[in-house]
Amino acid sequence: MSAEKPRSPAQYAPLLYPALMLSVFFIIPFGTMLAVSFFHRVEGAFYEPSFELSNYARFISPFFGRALGFSLLLAGAAAIVAVTIAFPFTYMLTRMRRRHQVRWLVFILAVLSLSEVIIGFAWATLMSRSAGLSNILVWAGVLEQAQAWSPSFPALLIGLSYVGFPYTVLVLYPALSRLDPELPEASRMLGASPLRSFFRVVVPVLRTSIISALIMVFVFNLGAYVLPQVLGKPQHWTLSVLITDQAIFQSNLPFASAMAIFLMMVSLALVGVTLMLGQERRPAR
């Protein structure tokens, strides 16, 4: 029974239900969102059908520009931090004995699945005055008295890198676990130090994987919604927070939809670039 073309209509039966569910509950919501992004907002009610670009025109404002700029900066910075730590980490992980590897993977998955709310709360506690890290510095005599480190930009950046880290590990894991172990070994035999062989052999070979991971984590970070509110100040609100704010609290669904469509375009373009990088890599493997 190798893969064949379906011949009779009955063979399409298994497709019916999933296709129906995904069309109704995924394609229709997206179509609705696209349509609403051109609709006219009605105060007090939700919206009325029309075709106007005013929701998109609102992008050309310092308010939106600042939020967009900050979202991109934050997502980029956190992606760089996460990949910088996750790459050597995942490399060492894949060189471990299987039993240890599995333990680490269970832990990484547990952290990955944790709600952004819980991680935000945990880091806010860790950075707080009464229960935070600064108490250790007081105890060690570095600080005079305990300080609150959150909300602040560094707290937000650390929190977001924390959320992105397990995701990055899992994105890098397949490529790194498939890396031929003889490759770094050969360079070691030729006299390269472990550090040198890592930076001169492993990193260049996996260049495309690293770039794909950076983009994937960047898109993942763009979705951060809870952390900017818990660990950041109002000026640290990202596009995701603004979209929700407009949708829920300002009841401006057309403007929220326009922003969501814009965010989707940016994300899709970036995911597309990643897919193209993957295609390029294929003949070389």
Binding site: S115, T125, I243
Partner: protein, 267 residues
């Protein structure tokens, strides 16, 4: 890097990953309603409150109902889809697969807003059914990927052999395919279950004001003050996740499951 340097690096990463969890576990046992670490006194009362106070118990119940049912629904969508794509060769297979993976790839707020609009129009905004179906669609990616992986791992020669011995499509499905895919079905369910339990933004946008799940409840409490019950929920969630993924690792092949999870070239 030499052995010692390697150990040091891994140790630091472990410490950084553990630190917030340890502090949360610490504050969850404070004797009084204070945010203190190290904890003053010891009390497990906050865990008890989670199970006795009506509003927290309600959130626990909502979260569990949503996670159990939405994961079931996600698997029910993913399984026939994955089976069809594996069994037959069609030109639009990639389109269908992408459709199943897309909800998970985009920033969640986008999908969440789409659901919000849909449920407002369907008249079910604020209803738990909306949360369940939205989560099922949002997390359909996870069982779809694990099930596709499971089907790929079936040796086609086994199926060829059973057909030669006279088994029809239904018998092959029931006696060969289903038993071999079962572990992947279960892990797909488990992934969807744990992530649904932890999901915030979709649940909030679709029914946040009426159907309070645990993450929504924590976030609301976070805004209006502090209670150690939040910390105890966090600890319970960490333990549940470790238990579920530990079981998957115990009875399945976790590295293999993850090795193809995000690798596009094999899917």
């Amino acid at each position: 890097m030499n052995q010692a340097g390697r150990r040091l690096f891994m140790g630091i990463v472990l410490l950084a990953l553990m630190a917030p969890l340890v502090v949360v576990a610490g504050v969850s046992v404070n004797a009084k309603k204070e945010l203190l670490f190290p904890p003053r006194g010891f009390s497990l009362g906050w865990y008890l409150e989670l199970l006795t106070q009506a509003d927290w118990l309600n959130a626990v119940r909502n979260s569990l109902i949503i996670a159990v049912l939405s994961a079931l629904l996600a698997v029910s969508i993913a399984f026939p889809l994955g089976y069809f794509l594996w069994r037959y060769k069609v030109w639009y297979a990639r389109v269908l697969f992408t459709l199943g993976v897309a909800p998970f790839m985009l920033p969640p707020v986008i999908t969440a807003l789409g659901f919000l609009l849909f449920w407002v129009n369907a008249g079910l905004y604020g209803n738990m059914i909306a949360t369940i179906i939205s989560h099922a669609i949002f997390f359909v990616t996870l069982p779809l990927v694990t099930i596709s992986l499971g089907l790929e791992s079936i040796d086609r020669q086994i199926i060829e052999a059973s057909r030669m011995l006279g088994a029809d499509d239904r018998t092959v499905f029931r006696t060969v395919i289903l038993p071999m895919v079962r572990p992947y079905l279960i892990s797909g369910y488990a992934f969807a279950f744990v992530l649904s339990l932890n999901e915030y933004i979709v649940a909030y946008m679709v029914a946040g004001f009426t159907v309070e799940t645990l993450p929504i409840k924590i976030f609301n409490s976070l805004r209006y003050g502090y209670t150690p019950v939040m910390a105890s929920v966090a600890v319970v969630f960490v333990l549940v996740a470790i238990l579920v993924f530990g079981l998957i690792a115990r009875f399945g092949d976790l590295p293999k499951l993850l090795g193809a999870w995000s690798s596009r070239e094999t899917t």
